[in-house]
């Protein structure tokens, strides 16, 4: 129950900063560039450069680093897991041996390498979602996807689906918590028992959650039709996205840094 409230990954924090005011398309493209170069580079130096770059971004964004790292906490388990798997599962020069478990030099390097990659990946995407409101994020995605309209990409529909999904994540979390509390008050118990029992115990949460979600979807559809929603065709936007000089400069800077990181290292 506690976990639900500690998810800061994917949460928008409004501030007045350079990063916040960048065009969402630029931010998405920059984030993509960083991710691609994370997978291309072969030396630790590359991570250092990209890591520093993202950290500078976080500082400029005026979001407290504590908050960014809080989001990382939920991913920490996955990072540790990959590190351990690589540590023990890679063949090579043995550094340390404990009966059948052996740590190899190659394993250590590979493990650290992948961990760094995951770490910076989450950092970069957190920076994107922390500084971009869900609305402008999906606006940006819609605009970017519409480049692919000629091959039949339903850009608007995808963006609309994402907007609605993002909009309802907090609602669903809140509702899950409410239903859990209600069932606990009726004697349900979610913390004890074996795996089989625990799974069975989820039924009193999942069924009401689904019932409510379907009902809400139905109501939303009716409300949208009542407001004359008819898809993306000819739809205008209240907030127009505009590329400014600072956006172009950011894109150029990101390109240079990611190319240096992935090509030179």
């Amino acid at each position: 129950m506690k976990i639900l409230r500690n998810i800061s990954f994917g949460q928008y924090i409004p501030r007045e900063s350079l990063i916040h005011n960048l065009d969402p398309r630029i931010k998405i493209l920059s984030c993509l560039a960083i991710i691609i170069s994370l997978f291309l580079l072969t030396e630790f130096w590359g991570y250092l450069i990209l890591g520093t770059f993202v950290m500078i971004g976080i500082i400029i964004s005026q979001i407290h680093p504590k908050f960014v790292f809080k989001g990382l906490r939920s991913i920490l388990f996955i990072i540790m897991f990959t590190l351990i798997i690589h540590l023990f599962m890679t063949e090579g020069e043995v550094l340390y041996q404990l009966s059948f478990l052996k740590i190899t030099k190659e394993g250590l390097i590979k493990g650290l390498f992948i961990s760094c990659r995951l770490f910076i990946l989450i950092l970069a995407t957190s920076l994107l979602t922390l500084t971009t409101s869900p609305i402008s994020l999906t606006d940006g995605i819609e605009k970017l996807l519409s480049f692919f309209k000629f091959i039949g990409m339903p850009a608007h529909e995808i963006a609309m689906m994402m907007t609605i999904a993002l909009r309802f994540i907090p609602t669903l979390l809140e509702e899950t918590e409410k239903i859990m509390k209600a069932q606990i008050s009726r004697g349900a118990d979610f913390d004890t028992g074996n795996i089989f029992n625990r799974t069975k115990n989820l039924i009193p949460i999942l069924i009401p959650l689904f019932v409510n979600a379907f009902r809400r979807a139905d109501e939303l559809a009716i409300a949208m039709e009542a407001k004359c929603y008819r898809g993306g065709e000819g739809r205008t936007h209240f907030r127009q996205l505009k590329i400014r000089v600072i956006d172009i400069l950011t894109l150029i800077l990101t390109s240079i840094i990611t190319i240096i990181a992935s090509v030179l290292f």
Binding site: I179, A182, I184, R186, G187, P204, P208, V211
Partner: protein, 295 residues
């Protein structure tokens, strides 16, 4: 003393950028058998407060005692507490999940590990308490019911645990007047017939004031008034209006007459009492008038 709160504070998202101080220095005693109305604006902390009564929330600071047991202590069996303190959430129909009404109401007793015949006995008893006919309803799907009926089934699903105390969070929200009166009269009957301690949460004074023995008025996370409704309406009507909580219509009417110079008692709860009070007042005036005429 059934429930006792001492200097309870509660803050949501403590130490986070958007922390909310939902409860501030709450001190409260609830005795066995009381019928309490908890009134306050939306967002004043009513739901937060009642979740402290059965240990769903633990205070940021301060103490909560249920039957003299400090429930924030480690090793306390909260399941036992929740069995004693039944909490019916707002829109309880949103928690319904079973295939039949019988199973829905049997959920709590089953979790208590009761034998089959005892479970059936409790389901019958609970359905009776909310005035639904066992033979007609037990095998129906709860999802085919009307809103008001669904809510009564949800209420029954708490009653089947046989709590000593019943807390209802806005039980009348979103119901039509008929459904509202029905559920309120059932709650009143449950209190009167079974001696269950009841806390009725509402953002609306109307109806509630007439039913309860004691009103708790909350504003911005604090309890600002605590006493019998008559006393509160008689002495603190203007404070109630100041924080924007209305009076029941009749009481409001008496209050308006009073501030226009009539010497009236504003602690009335229904039309009959108001009528009596006004007639008394007129009689008094008439007799005074006669005295003057004689002079």
């Amino acid at each position: 003393m059934f429930i006792r709160l001492e200097n309870v504070y509660y803050t949501y998202n403590l130490h986070m950028p958007f922390e909310t101080k939902a409860l501030k220095n709450i001190n409260l005693d609830i005795k066995k058998g009381e019928f309490i109305g908890l009134i306050g604006h939306t967002g004043c902390g009513k739901t937060t407060l009642i979740q402290h009564f059965n240990g769903l929330l633990t205070p940021t600071s301060g103490k909560v005692y249920v039957e003299e047991m400090d429930i924030s202590k480690k090793g306390i069996d909260l399941k036992l507490i929740r069995q004693k303190v039944g909490l019916v959430f707002q829109y309880p129909e949103n928690q319904i999940f079973e295939e039949t009404i019988f199973q829905e109401i049997a959920f709590g007793p089953k979790k208590l590990g009761l034998p089959k015949d005892e479970i059936e006995k409790r389901v019958r008893e609970a359905l009776k308490m909310v005035d639904l006919d066992y033979n007609l309803y037990a095998e129906r799907s709860p999802f085919t019911l009307s809103g008001g009926e669904m809510r009564r089934v949800a209420l029954a699903s708490i009653l089947s645990i046989r709590p000593k105390m019943l807390i209802l969070d806005e039980p009348t929200a979103n119901l039509d007047p008929q459904g509202r009166n029905k559920i309120l009269s059932e709650i009143k009957a449950i209190h009167d017939n079974f001696g269950i301690t009841v806390v009725l949460v509402s953002h609306n004074m109307e109806k509630v004031a007439e039913m309860v023995d004691r009103l708790l008025v909350m504003n911005k996370g604090e309890i600002i008034m605590d006493g019998p409704p008559r006393e509160i309406f008689a002495k603190r009507a203007n404070d109630l209006l100041k924080v924007g909580l209305g009076l029941p219509q009749v009481t409001q009417c008496m209050y308006e007459l009073k501030i226009r110079g009539k010497d009236l008692y504003t602690g009335v709860l229904n039309v009959n009492e108001a009528e009596k009070e006004i007639l008394n007042n007129i009689k008094k005036l008439n007799s005074q008038l006669k005295k003057y005429e004689r002079l």
